[in-house]
């Protein structure tokens, strides 16, 4: 194997700056897309739980379409096709904006993550016993009050674990944004590789970061799951 290792490129100035910026941008992409997909997922979940077909049919259709098409397609779609769909003034403004790859990446990742979040929340809400809703009504609470004080906290306890797993999956999916030149960690490691030809070192740096942060997130999610575990909790159900 005639490959000359040169680990010092990882500490040389432009390359180290790119890798660190890439790491921060990965974290930013994860946070933004998780928050947006959580908002979308909650809305979708409540739409798909409704009894009115005017509400749940579009929601089920959206969930089916976004779940069956890969995330990279959505990221490319929102970068290349979405400005063309909008009216030309808005489309031109988007295309020439400096932050457009980041925006398209966040929207693409959120659209990719949202059906899974919606399904998790829908099954969590369905798992609440029907007696809870009825007794809340019997106590005289309005629907908004009963959701806020009784039903949603229970739904959150059930869904916290799967949502954490989805967060980790979203974190790994941010590497797809390199396809539209968002300068996140995978893109930065490819840039370092194309300039220095030291691909293994650059890829090792990226892998180590994903490993460390991934294992940290997994530990946090595990802790949260144990904290919200129904079977071991002291609260009488």
């Amino acid at each position: 194997m005639d490959y000359h290792f040169d680990w010092s490129i990882l500490i040389q100035e432009p390359y180290l700056g790119w890798l660190i910026n890439g790491a921060w941008l990965t974290i930013l992409l994860t946070l933004l897309s998780s928050i947006v997909s959580l908002a979308m997922g909650v809305g979708l979940a409540f739409l798909s739980l409704s009894r009115n077909p005017l509400y749940y049919q579009p929601a089920r259709l959206y969930i089916n379409i976004t779940r069956n098409i890969p995330g990279i397609f959505w990221i490319l779609f929102f970068f290349f096709v979405f400005p063309q769909i909008l009216p030309s003034a808005a489309g031109n403004a988007l295309n020439t904006s400096a932050y457009f790859p980041l925006i398209a990446g966040v929207i693409g990742l959120s659209v990719d993550n949202s059906p899974y979040v919606a399904e998790i929340i829908r099954s969590a809400v369905s798992a609440i016993p029907a007696g809870q809703w009825e007794s809340a009504m019997a106590c005289g609470l309005s629907p908004a009050q009963s959701w806020r004080t009784i039903l949603l906290p229970q739904a959150f306890r059930v869904s916290a674990g799967p949502l954490g797993t989805r967060l980790i999956h979203n974190f790994k999916n941010t590497s797809l944004c390199m396809a539209i030149a968002v300068p996140e960690l995978t893109w930065a490691s490819r840039q370092v590789e194309s300039l220095t030809f030291r691909g293994i070192e650059a890829l090792t740096a990226a892998t180590v970061f994903y490993l460390l942060l991934g294992l940290l997130l997994a530990t946090l999610v595990n802790y949260m799951e144990n904290r919200f575990d129904q079977a071991k909790s002291n609260v009488r159900s």
């Binding site: 089916n64 069956n68 290349f80 991934g214």
Partner: protein, 262 residues
């Protein structure tokens, strides 16, 4: 929009230049996914068993390998294979082989986790009964545990196939001529038709994934019914006099003591 161009595009997206060149397009995605699933299933059996082994010597390296590969994005695994394989094997490998290798590693690890989940569903009483009947650990696994575990996890394998098929779409980044590569090249050379091209790509991907999804749902229902029937046969809803030994798994019959004639 011209129907001829539409059909030409669809053929390119689905098969690539197939009769006049190498297979590409959606068929290449399916080929990589199916190949990775098959090879990964075979390799996941030893890895999954090592993950559940009783000695730390097997369990710790298996756990480290599984957690390490699970924490890394698929795209990074593809890049690793793309960089490492030409260094390890000096001959000129087609990028298809490095793609297949990376997805095989990915599916080995995830299928090993699925197998672990399957083994966890087998009650410990079966293990105790098997060991008490005089079986070794490997005999218990081979004849009792794994047949049940794998059968129960078949719907999970089907849904994993959907997931890995969607993940093979990232292969266009290393230059493999799959459906996204053809779609993006067409979109770049015909920017006025970009929406129809993306629509065709999305439609092909959606149809394939939804079809496999229906098959997975059917498998889940069928195995749910079959599991109940298997349970009924083994536990015996009919009276014990009528229950014949043939209802038990054939490989298990060797361990049943044949009644001696007094």
């Amino acid at each position: 929009m011209n129907i001829d161009i539409f059909l030409q595009n669809i053929k390119l997206l689905l098969l690539g230049p197939f009769p006049d060149g190498q297979l590409g397009g959606l068929s290449l995605n399916l080929l990589v996914a199916a190949g990775a699933l098959s090879l990964g299933f075979l390799l996941s059996l030893p890895l999954g068993l090592a993950r559940k082994a009783q000695t730390r010597l097997l369990r710790w390296p298996a756990t480290c390998l599984i957690e390490a590969v699970k924490a890394v994005p698929v795209l990074l695994l593809v890049f690793w294979a793309y960089l490492l394989l030409p260094l390890l094997f000096p001959t000129d490998l087609p990028p298809f082989i490095s793609a297949l290798m990376s997805f095989t590693v990915y599916s080995t690890v995830y299928l090993a986790e699925t197998l672990r989940a399957g083994i966890d569903t087998i009650p410990a009483t079966q293990r105790d009964a098997a060991l008490a009947s005089g079986m070794h650990y490997y005999q218990w696994q081979l004849h009792v545990c794994l047949p049940q575990a794998i059968r129960r996890m078949i719907p999970c394998y089907a849904s994993f196939f959907i997931s890995i098929f969607k993940d093979t779409s990232v292969l266009y980044i290393i230059g493999i001529m799959d459906i996204l590569q053809y779609g993006l090249t067409m979109a770049e050379s015909h920017p006025d038709r970009i929406m129809t091209i993306y629509g065709q790509m999305g439609l092909c991907l959606f149809v394939v994934c939804q079809t496999i999804g229906f098959i997975a749902a059917w498998l889940e229902k069928r195995f749910e019914m079959a599991d109940c029937q298997m349970c009924r046969k083994v536990v015996g809803q009919r009276s014990t006099q009528k229950r014949s030994k043939a209802t038990l798994l054939p490989s298990f019959q060797r361990f049943i003591n044949k009644p001696t004639n007094q």
